[in-house]
Symmetry: C3
Subunit: 161 residues, 3 copies
Protein backbone atom coordinates (compact mmCIF):
# COMPACT_ATOMS: atom_id res chain seq x y z
CA UNK A 1 0.00 0.00 0.00
CA UNK A 2 1.29 3.44 -0.87
CA UNK A 3 -0.23 6.90 -0.35
CA UNK A 4 -1.87 8.82 -3.16
CA UNK A 5 -0.42 11.99 -4.64
CA UNK A 6 -2.16 15.35 -4.68
CA UNK A 7 -3.55 14.86 -8.18
CA UNK A 8 -5.34 11.60 -7.33
CA UNK A 9 -6.40 13.11 -3.98
CA UNK A 10 -8.12 15.92 -5.88
CA UNK A 11 -9.96 13.40 -8.05
CA UNK A 12 -11.05 11.45 -4.96
CA UNK A 13 -12.31 14.60 -3.25
CA UNK A 14 -14.41 15.33 -6.33
CA UNK A 15 -15.93 11.85 -6.15
CA UNK A 16 -16.89 12.39 -2.50
CA UNK A 17 -18.17 15.88 -3.25
CA UNK A 18 -20.36 14.52 -6.01
CA UNK A 19 -21.56 11.73 -3.71
CA UNK A 20 -22.63 14.30 -1.11
CA UNK A 21 -24.18 16.63 -3.65
CA UNK A 22 -26.27 13.98 -5.37
CA UNK A 23 -27.65 12.65 -2.07
CA UNK A 24 -28.49 16.10 -0.72
CA UNK A 25 -29.49 18.09 -3.77
CA UNK A 26 -30.06 15.50 -6.45
CA UNK A 27 -30.67 14.31 -8.99
CA UNK A 28 -30.83 11.22 -6.81
CA UNK A 29 -31.22 9.01 -9.84
CA UNK A 30 -27.59 9.79 -10.76
CA UNK A 31 -26.22 8.65 -7.41
CA UNK A 32 -25.96 4.90 -8.23
CA UNK A 33 -23.75 5.88 -11.18
CA UNK A 34 -20.98 6.54 -8.65
CA UNK A 35 -20.77 2.79 -8.03
CA UNK A 36 -19.51 0.02 -10.25
CA UNK A 37 -22.18 -2.31 -11.60
CA UNK A 38 -21.01 -5.07 -9.32
CA UNK A 39 -20.60 -3.37 -5.97
CA UNK A 40 -21.19 -3.62 -2.26
CA UNK A 41 -22.91 -0.95 -0.16
CA UNK A 42 -23.18 -1.59 3.57
CA UNK A 43 -24.57 0.53 6.38
CA UNK A 44 -23.13 -0.86 9.61
CA UNK A 45 -23.34 0.23 13.26
CA UNK A 46 -19.87 0.82 14.66
CA UNK A 47 -20.38 -1.64 17.49
CA UNK A 48 -21.00 -4.45 15.01
CA UNK A 49 -18.14 -3.37 12.80
CA UNK A 50 -15.67 -3.29 15.68
CA UNK A 51 -16.74 -6.77 16.76
CA UNK A 52 -16.38 -8.09 13.23
CA UNK A 53 -20.09 -8.91 13.05
CA UNK A 54 -21.39 -9.05 9.50
CA UNK A 55 -24.84 -7.64 10.32
CA UNK A 56 -25.63 -4.50 8.29
CA UNK A 57 -28.88 -2.57 8.51
CA UNK A 58 -28.71 -1.85 4.80
CA UNK A 59 -27.01 -4.05 2.23
CA UNK A 60 -26.93 -3.62 -1.53
CA UNK A 61 -24.89 -5.88 -3.75
CA UNK A 62 -25.21 -4.24 -7.14
CA UNK A 63 -25.92 -0.91 -8.77
CA UNK A 64 -29.38 -2.21 -9.59
CA UNK A 65 -30.12 -2.72 -5.90
CA UNK A 66 -28.98 0.85 -5.21
CA UNK A 67 -31.39 2.08 -7.86
CA UNK A 68 -34.20 0.18 -6.14
CA UNK A 69 -33.18 1.61 -2.77
CA UNK A 70 -33.29 5.16 -4.09
CA UNK A 71 -36.76 4.59 -5.53
CA UNK A 72 -37.99 3.16 -2.23
CA UNK A 73 -36.55 6.03 -0.22
CA UNK A 74 -38.11 8.59 -2.54
CA UNK A 75 -41.53 7.05 -1.99
CA UNK A 76 -40.98 7.23 1.77
CA UNK A 77 -39.78 10.82 1.51
CA UNK A 78 -43.12 11.80 0.04
CA UNK A 79 -44.75 11.05 3.36
CA UNK A 80 -42.07 12.60 5.49
CA UNK A 81 -40.51 15.65 3.86
CA UNK A 82 -37.09 16.58 5.18
CA UNK A 83 -33.76 17.84 3.98
CA UNK A 84 -30.41 16.17 4.50
CA UNK A 85 -26.94 17.68 4.30
CA UNK A 86 -23.65 15.76 4.25
CA UNK A 87 -20.21 16.99 5.11
CA UNK A 88 -17.53 14.57 4.01
CA UNK A 89 -14.06 15.41 5.26
CA UNK A 90 -10.58 14.12 5.99
CA UNK A 91 -10.35 11.78 3.02
CA UNK A 92 -7.32 9.53 3.27
CA UNK A 93 -6.39 6.99 0.66
CA UNK A 94 -3.77 4.51 -0.38
CA UNK A 95 -3.36 2.30 -3.42
CA UNK A 96 -3.03 -1.45 -3.29
CA UNK A 97 -0.01 -2.05 -5.49
CA UNK A 98 -1.11 -5.52 -6.57
CA UNK A 99 -4.72 -4.77 -7.58
CA UNK A 100 -4.54 -1.02 -8.23
CA UNK A 101 -7.60 -0.65 -6.01
CA UNK A 102 -7.80 2.51 -3.90
CA UNK A 103 -8.59 2.05 -0.22
CA UNK A 104 -10.10 5.25 1.13
CA UNK A 105 -11.57 6.43 4.40
CA UNK A 106 -13.44 9.63 5.20
CA UNK A 107 -15.35 11.16 8.08
CA UNK A 108 -18.94 12.24 7.54
CA UNK A 109 -21.59 14.16 9.37
CA UNK A 110 -25.17 14.12 8.23
CA UNK A 111 -27.62 16.80 9.32
CA UNK A 112 -31.37 16.63 9.03
CA UNK A 113 -33.93 19.39 8.76
CA UNK A 114 -37.56 18.57 9.43
CA UNK A 115 -40.30 21.10 8.68
CA UNK A 116 -40.58 23.78 11.35
CA UNK A 117 -37.59 22.46 13.26
CA UNK A 118 -34.00 23.60 13.58
CA UNK A 119 -31.34 21.43 11.95
CA UNK A 120 -30.00 18.55 14.01
CA UNK A 121 -27.21 16.02 13.77
CA UNK A 122 -28.68 12.91 12.24
CA UNK A 123 -25.70 10.60 11.90
CA UNK A 124 -21.94 10.74 12.19
CA UNK A 125 -19.36 8.16 11.26
CA UNK A 126 -16.91 7.19 8.61
CA UNK A 127 -16.76 5.66 5.17
CA UNK A 128 -14.41 2.77 4.47
CA UNK A 129 -14.33 2.41 0.71
CA UNK A 130 -12.69 0.59 -2.16
CA UNK A 131 -12.54 2.63 -5.30
CA UNK A 132 -11.52 1.64 -8.81
CA UNK A 133 -11.04 3.36 -12.13
CA UNK A 134 -13.85 2.02 -14.26
CA UNK A 135 -13.89 1.21 -17.97
CA UNK A 136 -14.81 4.79 -18.89
CA UNK A 137 -11.90 6.22 -16.90
CA UNK A 138 -14.03 7.43 -13.98
CA UNK A 139 -13.41 6.60 -10.35
CA UNK A 140 -16.26 4.59 -8.84
CA UNK A 141 -17.00 2.90 -5.54
CA UNK A 142 -16.64 -0.86 -5.73
CA UNK A 143 -17.27 -1.23 -2.00
CA UNK A 144 -18.62 1.31 0.46
CA UNK A 145 -18.99 0.62 4.14
CA UNK A 146 -20.79 3.41 6.01
CA UNK A 147 -19.90 2.79 9.63
CA UNK A 148 -22.07 5.03 11.79
CA UNK A 149 -21.06 5.85 15.33
CA UNK A 150 -24.56 6.01 16.76
CA UNK A 151 -25.62 3.10 18.88
CA UNK A 152 -29.21 4.18 18.71
CA UNK A 153 -30.71 3.52 15.30
CA UNK A 154 -33.10 6.09 13.94
CA UNK A 155 -36.09 4.18 12.60
CA UNK A 156 -36.10 6.49 9.63
CA UNK A 157 -32.99 5.17 7.96
CA UNK A 158 -34.42 4.14 4.63
CA UNK A 159 -32.14 6.50 2.82
CA UNK A 160 -28.47 5.89 2.02
CA UNK A 161 -25.94 7.62 4.26
Amino acid sequence: MSGVDHVLQHELEQLYGRYAGLLDDGPLADWPELFTEECLYLLIPRDNFDLGLPLAIMRCESRGMLVDRIRASQETMMYEPRYLRHQITNVRASVDAASGEIHASAHYSLFEVLPDELPRVFSIGRYLDRIVRDGDGRLRFREKRCVYDSVLVAYTIVYPI
Copy 2:
Protein backbone atom coordinates in the same frame (compact mmCIF):
# COMPACT_ATOMS: atom_id res chain seq x y z
CA MET B 1 -18.10 23.96 -18.66
CA SER B 2 -15.01 22.02 -17.66
CA GLY B 3 -13.73 20.88 -14.28
CA VAL B 4 -10.93 22.66 -12.47
CA ASP B 5 -7.50 21.14 -11.95
CA HIS B 6 -5.92 20.52 -8.54
CA VAL B 7 -3.99 23.80 -8.59
CA LEU B 8 -7.09 25.96 -9.06
CA GLN B 9 -8.97 23.75 -6.58
CA HIS B 10 -6.32 24.55 -3.97
CA GLU B 11 -6.73 28.26 -4.64
CA LEU B 12 -10.53 27.96 -4.33
CA GLU B 13 -10.23 26.06 -1.05
CA GLN B 14 -8.08 28.87 0.30
CA LEU B 15 -10.74 31.41 -0.67
CA TYR B 16 -13.40 29.43 1.19
CA GLY B 17 -11.07 28.93 4.15
CA ARG B 18 -10.45 32.64 4.35
CA TYR B 19 -14.18 33.30 4.04
CA ALA B 20 -14.88 31.02 7.02
CA GLY B 21 -11.99 32.38 9.06
CA LEU B 22 -12.91 36.03 8.60
CA LEU B 23 -16.54 35.46 9.56
CA ASP B 24 -15.70 33.38 12.63
CA ASP B 25 -12.47 34.90 13.92
CA GLY B 26 -12.22 38.23 12.15
CA PRO B 27 -11.20 40.78 11.30
CA LEU B 28 -14.75 41.03 10.00
CA ALA B 29 -13.92 44.29 8.25
CA ASP B 30 -11.76 42.29 5.80
CA TRP B 31 -14.58 39.96 4.81
CA PRO B 32 -16.18 42.17 2.12
CA GLU B 33 -12.77 42.22 0.40
CA LEU B 34 -13.49 38.65 -0.71
CA PHE B 35 -16.18 40.00 -3.05
CA THR B 36 -15.83 42.04 -6.21
CA GLU B 37 -16.99 45.64 -5.94
CA GLU B 38 -20.06 44.88 -8.03
CA CYS B 39 -21.40 41.70 -6.53
CA LEU B 40 -24.47 39.85 -5.40
CA TYR B 41 -24.90 38.21 -2.00
CA LEU B 42 -28.14 36.36 -1.35
CA LEU B 43 -29.34 34.36 1.64
CA ILE B 44 -32.19 32.18 0.41
CA PRO B 45 -34.31 29.48 2.06
CA ARG B 46 -34.06 26.23 0.12
CA ASP B 47 -37.78 26.00 -0.38
CA ASN B 48 -37.81 29.32 -2.21
CA PHE B 49 -34.72 28.45 -4.19
CA ASP B 50 -36.15 25.13 -5.33
CA LEU B 51 -39.36 26.82 -6.44
CA GLY B 52 -37.43 29.50 -8.32
CA LEU B 53 -38.80 32.22 -6.08
CA PRO B 54 -36.58 35.30 -5.99
CA LEU B 55 -37.29 36.13 -2.34
CA ALA B 56 -34.10 36.31 -0.24
CA ILE B 57 -33.98 37.15 3.44
CA MET B 58 -30.72 39.01 2.92
CA ARG B 59 -29.70 40.71 -0.30
CA CYS B 60 -26.60 42.81 -0.92
CA GLU B 61 -25.75 44.12 -4.37
CA SER B 62 -22.32 45.64 -3.86
CA ARG B 63 -19.28 45.39 -1.63
CA GLY B 64 -20.42 48.63 -0.02
CA MET B 65 -23.68 47.01 1.06
CA LEU B 66 -21.72 44.11 2.56
CA VAL B 67 -19.64 46.60 4.54
CA ASP B 68 -22.86 48.14 5.87
CA ARG B 69 -24.24 44.73 6.74
CA ILE B 70 -21.11 43.84 8.72
CA ARG B 71 -21.34 47.11 10.66
CA ALA B 72 -25.01 46.50 11.46
CA SER B 73 -24.36 42.93 12.60
CA GLN B 74 -21.50 44.06 14.83
CA GLU B 75 -23.78 46.51 16.58
CA THR B 76 -26.31 43.74 17.13
CA MET B 77 -23.61 41.38 18.35
CA MET B 78 -22.78 43.83 21.12
CA TYR B 79 -26.14 43.13 22.69
CA GLU B 80 -26.09 39.41 22.08
CA PRO B 81 -22.61 37.94 22.42
CA ARG B 82 -22.15 34.60 20.71
CA TYR B 83 -19.57 32.71 18.73
CA LEU B 84 -20.06 31.22 15.30
CA ARG B 85 -18.05 28.52 13.56
CA HIS B 86 -18.27 27.54 9.90
CA GLN B 87 -17.21 24.34 8.25
CA ILE B 88 -17.12 24.64 4.49
CA THR B 89 -16.59 21.36 2.67
CA ASN B 90 -16.96 19.46 -0.59
CA VAL B 91 -16.09 22.36 -2.86
CA ARG B 92 -16.81 21.52 -6.50
CA ALA B 93 -16.13 23.88 -9.34
CA SER B 94 -16.15 24.21 -13.08
CA VAL B 95 -15.10 26.95 -15.43
CA ASP B 96 -17.38 28.55 -17.97
CA ALA B 97 -15.25 28.44 -21.10
CA ALA B 98 -16.84 31.52 -22.67
CA SER B 99 -16.64 33.91 -19.71
CA GLY B 100 -13.83 32.34 -17.68
CA GLU B 101 -16.12 32.60 -14.66
CA ILE B 102 -15.84 29.82 -12.08
CA HIS B 103 -19.08 28.21 -10.95
CA ALA B 104 -18.58 26.66 -7.52
CA SER B 105 -20.71 24.90 -4.94
CA ALA B 106 -19.87 23.92 -1.38
CA HIS B 107 -21.63 22.48 1.65
CA TYR B 108 -21.55 24.42 4.90
CA SER B 109 -22.50 23.90 8.49
CA LEU B 110 -22.65 26.78 10.92
CA PHE B 111 -22.52 26.20 14.66
CA GLU B 112 -23.44 28.72 17.31
CA VAL B 113 -22.27 29.05 20.89
CA LEU B 114 -24.26 31.20 23.26
CA PRO B 115 -22.91 32.04 26.72
CA ASP B 116 -23.37 29.19 29.19
CA GLU B 117 -24.78 26.87 26.55
CA LEU B 118 -23.34 23.96 24.63
CA PRO B 119 -22.70 24.48 20.91
CA ARG B 120 -25.61 23.82 18.58
CA VAL B 121 -26.20 23.56 14.87
CA PHE B 122 -27.36 26.96 13.70
CA SER B 123 -27.67 26.55 9.95
CA ILE B 124 -26.75 24.06 7.27
CA GLY B 125 -26.91 24.38 3.53
CA ARG B 126 -24.85 25.06 0.49
CA TYR B 127 -23.17 27.90 -1.35
CA LEU B 128 -23.76 28.39 -5.06
CA ASP B 129 -21.14 30.86 -6.18
CA ARG B 130 -19.67 32.60 -9.19
CA ILE B 131 -16.03 33.46 -8.74
CA VAL B 132 -13.73 35.55 -10.92
CA ARG B 133 -10.08 36.50 -10.96
CA ASP B 134 -10.10 40.17 -10.13
CA GLY B 135 -7.81 42.91 -11.45
CA ASP B 136 -5.21 42.27 -8.74
CA GLY B 137 -5.03 38.57 -9.60
CA ARG B 138 -7.06 37.40 -6.60
CA LEU B 139 -10.11 35.16 -6.76
CA ARG B 140 -13.23 36.93 -5.51
CA PHE B 141 -16.93 36.14 -5.26
CA ARG B 142 -18.96 37.93 -7.90
CA GLU B 143 -22.14 36.14 -6.82
CA LYS B 144 -22.80 34.13 -3.70
CA ARG B 145 -26.07 32.38 -3.02
CA CYS B 146 -26.27 30.91 0.48
CA VAL B 147 -29.11 28.41 0.24
CA TYR B 148 -29.95 27.24 3.74
CA ASP B 149 -31.80 24.00 4.30
CA SER B 150 -33.73 25.12 7.36
CA VAL B 151 -37.35 25.88 6.83
CA LEU B 152 -37.58 27.61 10.14
CA VAL B 153 -35.86 30.98 10.10
CA ALA B 154 -33.95 31.98 13.19
CA TYR B 155 -34.93 35.55 14.00
CA THR B 156 -31.31 36.27 14.75
CA ILE B 157 -30.02 36.10 11.20
CA VAL B 158 -28.56 39.57 10.88
CA TYR B 159 -25.15 38.14 10.23
CA PRO B 160 -23.91 36.76 6.90
CA ILE B 161 -23.84 32.99 6.57
Copy 3:
Protein backbone atom coordinates in the same frame (compact mmCIF):
# COMPACT_ATOMS: atom_id res chain seq x y z
CA MET C 1 5.32 34.50 5.70
CA SER C 2 4.24 33.01 2.38
CA GLY C 3 1.39 30.67 1.46
CA VAL C 4 1.89 26.98 0.85
CA ASP C 5 1.52 25.37 -2.56
CA HIS C 6 -0.95 22.61 -3.37
CA VAL C 7 1.61 19.85 -2.80
CA LEU C 8 2.42 20.91 0.76
CA GLN C 9 -1.29 21.59 1.35
CA HIS C 10 -2.02 17.95 0.46
CA GLU C 11 0.61 16.77 2.93
CA LEU C 12 -0.84 18.99 5.65
CA GLU C 13 -4.36 17.70 4.99
CA GLN C 14 -3.07 14.17 5.40
CA LEU C 15 -1.55 15.10 8.76
CA TYR C 16 -4.87 16.51 9.95
CA GLY C 17 -6.74 13.53 8.56
CA ARG C 18 -4.46 11.17 10.42
CA TYR C 19 -4.86 13.25 13.57
CA ALA C 20 -8.66 12.94 13.36
CA GLY C 21 -8.56 9.26 12.48
CA LEU C 22 -6.26 8.26 15.32
CA LEU C 23 -8.32 10.13 17.91
CA ASP C 24 -11.63 8.73 16.69
CA ASP C 25 -10.79 5.23 15.50
CA GLY C 26 -7.38 4.54 16.94
CA PRO C 27 -4.95 3.18 17.59
CA LEU C 28 -4.78 5.98 20.13
CA ALA C 29 -1.28 4.97 21.12
CA ASP C 30 -0.06 6.21 17.72
CA TRP C 31 -1.52 9.68 18.17
CA PRO C 32 1.40 11.20 20.14
CA GLU C 33 3.65 10.24 17.21
CA LEU C 34 2.11 13.15 15.31
CA PHE C 35 3.94 15.54 17.64
CA THR C 36 7.64 16.30 17.93
CA GLU C 37 9.30 15.04 21.09
CA GLU C 38 9.56 18.54 22.46
CA CYS C 39 6.13 20.00 21.84
CA LEU C 40 3.32 22.05 23.27
CA TYR C 41 -0.33 20.99 23.35
CA LEU C 42 -2.84 23.45 24.78
CA LEU C 43 -6.60 23.28 25.12
CA ILE C 44 -7.81 26.85 25.63
CA PRO C 45 -11.26 28.44 25.92
CA ARG C 46 -11.72 31.12 23.28
CA ASP C 47 -12.52 33.78 25.84
CA ASN C 48 -9.15 33.26 27.51
CA PHE C 49 -7.34 33.10 24.20
CA ASP C 50 -8.90 36.34 22.95
CA LEU C 51 -7.94 38.10 26.18
CA GLY C 52 -4.39 36.80 25.94
CA LEU C 53 -4.77 34.86 29.20
CA PRO C 54 -2.35 31.94 29.45
CA LEU C 55 -4.76 29.65 31.31
CA ALA C 56 -5.34 26.35 29.48
CA ILE C 57 -7.54 23.54 30.75
CA MET C 58 -5.13 20.98 29.32
CA ARG C 59 -1.40 21.54 28.88
CA CYS C 60 1.19 19.02 27.71
CA GLU C 61 4.79 20.02 27.12
CA SER C 62 6.27 16.91 25.57
CA ARG C 63 5.31 13.82 23.63
CA GLY C 64 5.76 11.87 26.85
CA MET C 65 3.07 13.94 28.54
CA LEU C 66 0.73 13.28 25.61
CA VAL C 67 1.33 9.55 26.03
CA ASP C 68 0.39 9.87 29.70
CA ARG C 69 -2.71 11.86 28.81
CA ILE C 70 -3.86 9.20 26.37
CA ARG C 71 -3.41 6.47 29.00
CA ALA C 72 -5.37 8.48 31.54
CA SER C 73 -8.20 9.16 29.11
CA GLN C 74 -8.42 5.49 28.15
CA GLU C 75 -8.87 4.53 31.77
CA THR C 76 -11.64 7.09 32.10
CA MET C 77 -13.26 5.89 28.89
CA MET C 78 -13.67 2.45 30.41
CA TYR C 79 -16.16 3.86 32.86
CA GLU C 80 -17.94 6.05 30.36
CA PRO C 81 -18.13 4.47 26.93
CA ARG C 82 -18.74 6.90 24.10
CA TYR C 83 -17.68 7.56 20.56
CA LEU C 84 -16.14 10.74 19.24
CA ARG C 85 -15.93 11.98 15.65
CA HIS C 86 -13.84 14.90 14.40
CA GLN C 87 -14.26 16.90 11.26
CA ILE C 88 -11.26 19.06 10.53
CA THR C 89 -11.75 21.51 7.69
CA ASN C 90 -10.57 24.72 6.06
CA VAL C 91 -6.88 24.19 6.70
CA ARG C 92 -4.87 27.33 5.90
CA ALA C 93 -1.13 27.52 6.23
CA SER C 94 1.85 29.72 5.60
CA VAL C 95 5.56 29.19 5.99
CA ASP C 96 7.81 31.35 8.13
CA ALA C 97 10.66 32.11 5.77
CA ALA C 98 13.24 32.51 8.51
CA SER C 99 12.56 29.33 10.50
CA GLY C 100 10.86 27.17 7.87
CA GLU C 101 8.12 26.51 10.42
CA ILE C 102 4.58 26.10 9.07
CA HIS C 103 1.87 28.13 10.76
CA ALA C 104 -1.48 26.45 10.19
CA SER C 105 -5.06 26.99 11.28
CA ALA C 106 -8.08 24.74 10.84
CA HIS C 107 -11.70 24.61 11.95
CA TYR C 108 -12.92 21.56 13.82
CA SER C 109 -16.18 20.13 15.02
CA LEU C 110 -16.28 17.26 17.45
CA PHE C 111 -19.39 15.11 17.83
CA GLU C 112 -20.10 12.74 20.67
CA VAL C 113 -22.25 9.64 20.79
CA LEU C 114 -23.27 8.28 24.16
CA PRO C 115 -24.96 4.89 24.44
CA ASP C 116 -28.67 5.04 23.58
CA GLU C 117 -28.48 8.70 22.61
CA LEU C 118 -28.43 10.50 19.29
CA PRO C 119 -25.16 12.18 18.30
CA ARG C 120 -24.62 15.70 19.55
CA VAL C 121 -22.16 18.51 19.01
CA PHE C 122 -19.56 18.23 21.74
CA SER C 123 -17.09 20.97 20.88
CA ILE C 124 -16.36 23.36 18.04
CA GLY C 125 -13.41 25.64 17.53
CA ARG C 126 -10.15 25.97 15.72
CA TYR C 127 -6.60 24.70 15.80
CA LEU C 128 -3.70 27.14 15.71
CA ASP C 129 -0.64 25.04 15.01
CA ARG C 130 3.07 25.18 14.32
CA ILE C 131 4.26 22.30 12.21
CA VAL C 132 7.78 21.25 11.29
CA ARG C 133 9.39 18.62 9.12
CA ASP C 134 11.00 16.28 11.58
CA GLY C 135 14.28 14.37 11.28
CA ASP C 136 12.59 11.44 9.51
CA GLY C 137 11.03 13.72 6.90
CA ARG C 138 7.53 13.63 8.36
CA LEU C 139 5.45 16.67 9.24
CA ARG C 140 4.73 16.87 12.97
CA PHE C 141 3.05 19.31 15.32
CA ARG C 142 5.53 21.30 17.37
CA GLU C 143 2.77 23.40 18.89
CA LYS C 144 -0.96 22.86 18.85
CA ARG C 145 -3.44 25.24 20.39
CA CYS C 146 -6.99 23.90 20.41
CA VAL C 147 -9.11 26.99 20.94
CA TYR C 148 -12.67 25.90 21.64
CA ASP C 149 -15.56 28.28 21.16
CA SER C 150 -17.68 26.95 24.00
CA VAL C 151 -17.81 29.09 27.09
CA LEU C 152 -19.33 26.27 29.05
CA VAL C 153 -16.77 23.57 29.82
CA ALA C 154 -17.95 19.99 29.74
CA TYR C 155 -16.61 18.31 32.84
CA THR C 156 -15.77 15.30 30.73
CA ILE C 157 -12.88 16.83 28.84
CA VAL C 158 -10.15 14.42 29.80
CA TYR C 159 -9.57 13.51 26.22
CA PRO C 160 -7.58 15.53 23.68
CA ILE C 161 -9.62 17.59 21.21
